[in-house]
Symmetry: C2
Subunit: 184 residues, 2 copies
């Protein structure tokens, strides 16, 4: 399955760290790529590229390494994705509970998962094939994305094997106390 | 089960939003209370209290509403928790994979889940009963906390019933498009 994440309306400096966390969760939890709209931010792009350089950018089952790109017009991008066969999942506290729609979502071959910032335009709700809630409480787009990806990949991201598949020379050897590495 | 979350070394202004997301995830995913160390931040405390005022602060099975408090000395606080019977879980990308220790963790009656900022002192690893990884990749303490709580409460946080249990007058009625509320 191919999974893109779209981070809507990135604002500087307000969203610097939250958007970085969104991107790193996308990568660590098995998405293929992240796209963001709002303000262009070369610092955000650098942060993601730096993590890929240190920790690997390879994505299981994908020909392309994990990457980040900017789209000025998020709605146009969503419409184009839809036209080319992506199912669009919009994460919102107002949507249907994730477990209710998970099987349908997992049947899709290509997914675009959209996470918003504070004001999401009504058209996003309309364009989405699934408006999905990860709890009906206010919390965090970082957490909502993590839980959604975790359910889609069946918890595979939690295994050492998944973490070791990113093609980095440095691999963490999980341990009960302290920090252990392996270099290849 | 009683669950406390400890957010280590809050820094201003850098961690303002990440720490807020940590607190909101703690609340939405079923923790009883959040404690933070580092710089005192009345803005962070206000944000959490405001969410509780609007969306409810009641925690299922708990006599006390969800709350936030400050601890100057995090290590002392951890030692006190340990002495009074809490199992301490420290979330770190170097720890053992969550699924390996989940059953042991769920057998505890009282949990303190510790999430760090960039440099976590070695003593935290020593004091922890469980050093646990949510992936062995760098991503986000917000996501790590969400996945850990999700597994501990068996996904209960994703149900409408859980979201409706916070005692707020406004309840979200999950829907396929748009936003629906119910007022009681």
């Amino acid at each position: 399955m191919e999974i893109f994440v779209l981070r809507l309306s990135h604002r500087l400096p307000r969203d610097e760290r939250i958007s970085t966390h969104v991107c790193l969760v996308a990568r660590a939890f098995g998405a293929n790529s992240v796209v963001y709209s709002g303000q262009h931010d070369s610092g955000l792009e650098e942060s993601v590229k730096k993590i890929c350089a240190s920790w690997g950018g390879q994505v299981e089952g994908s020909a392309m390494p994990f990457d980040i790109s900017y789209e000025k017009n998020a709605l146009k991008f969503m419409r184009e994705c839809k036209a080319s066969g992506y199912s669009i999942i919009h994460l919102t506290m107002y949507g249907l509970p994730l477990p209710e729609k998970l099987n349908e979502i997992k049947n899709s071959k290509k997914l675009l998962i959209v996470v918003g910032s504070e004001q999401v335009p009504g058209e996003v709700y309309e364009l989405a094939d699934f408006n999905i809630s990860v709890t009906n409480q206010p919390h965090s787009e970082v957490a909502a994305l993590a839980i959604t990806l975790d359910r889609i990949v069946n918890g595979r991201e939690l295994t050492k094997e998944h973490s070791w598949s990113f093609g980095s020379r440095i691999k963490i050897e999980p341990c009960a106390k302290g920090k252990k590495f392996r270099k290849s």
